[in-house]
Amino acid sequence: MWFLEAGQFSTRAAHDRRLLPLWQERWALAAVLAVALGVVPFWGNDYWFSAILIPFLALSLAGLGLNLLTGYAGQLSLGSAAFMAAGAFAAYNAQLCLPGLPWWLGWGIGGLVAAALSVLFGLPSLRIKGFYLIVSTLAAQFLIPWALVKFSWFSHGSASGVITAPPLTVAGWDLSHPAGRYLLTLVTVLGLTWVAHNMVRSELGRQWMAVRDMDTAAAVIGISLPRAKLLAFAISGFYLGVAGALWAFAYLVTVEPHGFDLARSFQILFIVIIGGLGSVAGAFLGAAFIVLFPLALSNLAGALPNGWIDAGQLENLQKMAFGALIILVLIREPEGLASLWQRWRSRARRWPLRH
């Protein structure tokens, strides 16, 4: 009853381009943002910030980056973690080489470097497509972390390859504590999400979708495939690079290449699959799921009588549950968790009547 669309006509072009077309959705989003920005930083505890909220936001951004490339432009990539690593290390090096550089500019430089690398490894997409593209992204996945470990130049000769991130300050305020890092992450992710949301509804986004659905047809109707594909790689690389900088600076507070291995790339791919290919909200739903699912499972195992499931077995069961879940999602819900929202919407519209 309260989710009626009746009467909410758009009479101006500006209305049509709105982020959320219905006032109920706008209010819901405003409420969520108000809670995330105004309530959570004061009420949450450090465990929530460091173990759940910051990784969730950083992974959401990474998922969003991959979704732009895979979900919208249709280019499969298994190298996401490598671009995150490139972003993290570039941001770190930028801050060391240019003392006094504000952190946000450093993160931006990290994103740009990751974007440049992403374009480089995306170049083969002009000649090849589909599964063959996996190999060039995997080349990035193995080459970049290898180079970061091998050449001490990237980590400034630090013996362990592990470096501590400089403090994060805004206008003299030190935001290095968990709540502050949460706020920085949140604001960064919100800004980039807003840009991405508008981008996928712009001409470029429509070009990407045309390329994804059939690139031959897209070329026939006059879309420049090289431009569309390379822009997809560049923008996706930028998002992944910033996500990597967030991961290193806001979450771990250290920069190290080992956290950016193939497993992380798969994790990001699963975020996109479970959340929903070709959906901005899906990246957030998928990331929430990926972060919360292992926690829920281990809590569940902890609630069982002692000795039912031992720690080693729990990991295997987690893996199995995860694999089964991916298959199940692909079979039952090919659009991912994001389509649940759509379905809920159409139900809420009729409530309390049923069909």
């Binding site: 599964f131 190999v135 699959i273 893996k319 995860f322 991916i326 298959i327 692909l330």
Partner: protein, 293 residues
């Protein structure tokens, strides 16, 4: 020069081991168009089942039979619960489903048999054999002979039997094959079963080399550049691709590796494959698809 030849031959022979993994891929790709990332997990599962049954005291043939039966049962289950519900979905969806399948099988194999390393002795001594002044590993030669036998058996299966004929028909055009009365689910189950057999053989070979452990499921990563170079749909291509990857990565490690402090074996095949793809987008032996709008 001798050293070069030795490195080259060592590389070629280890490339044969990569080909073994790649053949399993090619089989499934040919018959169902699925890029099966779970092949590595199947290799792990087969080898682990075999080794653990052997350690439980089963005789050699019984353990082999049970492991094979387990893989066949898995093939049927995959066809029934993964492939059939996903029929007619885009290839990328099927690929992702095999990613999930890989997790499921890896987790299942380790939940069932534990995660410790098992030694596997196939009864072939790994003493170097002197061939015209060059030292060649006897085990590698055995692996090469096995791969050769496997390719021969598979080509006989494909070209001389009724099952093989229907496999090729399905690979060519699933709709037309269905129209003439070939049952797709059966063909899929058969081809996943054959891929399971190949996975078991691969697992035994790799397991004897590395020990049966989790890293067996990572051999799938070695097979990818092999496939790319050889083309997804050619068993012969998988062999040639394996040889190229094996030889080039060993040569690169020995001659280029020292310049950059080593460890390039992991990514060199991928770089090679990428460069090759820029020249020949469908691999050496792959067919270039014709597209209509």
């Amino acid at each position: 020069m001798d050293f070069f030849a030795e490195v080259l031959i060592g590389g070629l022979l280890s490339g044969v081991m990569y080909s073994l993994v790649a053949i399993g891929f090619v089989l499934i790709y040919k018959a169902s168009g699925v890029f099966n990332f779970a092949q590595g997990a199947m290799v792990l599962f087969g080898a682990l089942t075999y080794v653990c049954l052997l350690e439980k005291g089963l005789p050699f043939w019984a353990a082999l039979g049970v492991a094979l039966a387990a893989l066949l049962a898995m093939a049927l289950a995959v066809e029934r619960w993964v492939l059939r519900p996903l029929v007619n979905r885009p290839p990328i969806t099927l690929f992702m489903a095999t990613l999930g399948l890989a997790y499921l099988i890896e987790g299942g194999a380790q939940a069932l048999w534990g995660a410790q390393v098992h030694a596997l002795d196939l009864g072939i001594e790994d003493v170097p054999l002197d061939v015209a002044g060059l030292m060649v590993s006897r085990f590698d030669l055995f692996a090469a002979a096995t791969a050769g036998g496997l390719v021969l058996a598979l080509s006989l299966l494909f070209n001389r039997t009724r099952v093989g004929l229907s496999l090729r028909a399905v690979a060519d055009d699933p709709l037309a094959a269905q129209a003439v009365g070939i049952r797709l689910p059966r063909v899929w189950a058969a081809v996943w079963g054959v891929a399971g057999l190949v996975a078991l053989i691969t697992g035994l070979m790799w397991g004897a080399r590395l020990g049966v452990q989790f890293s067996l499921s990572l051999v799938v990563l070695k097979a990818l550049p092999v496939l790319i170079i050889g083309g997804f749909s050619s068993v012969g291509g998988a062999i040639v691709g394996g040889l190229i990857v094996g030889a080039s990565e060993k040569l690169a490690e020995v001659y280029v590796g020292p310049l950059v402090d080593g460890g390039i074996e992991n990514w060199f095949p991928y770089l090679l494959a990428t460069v090759l793809l820029l020249v020949r987008p469908a691999g050496l032996f792959g067919e270039r698809p014709i597209e209509r709008v």
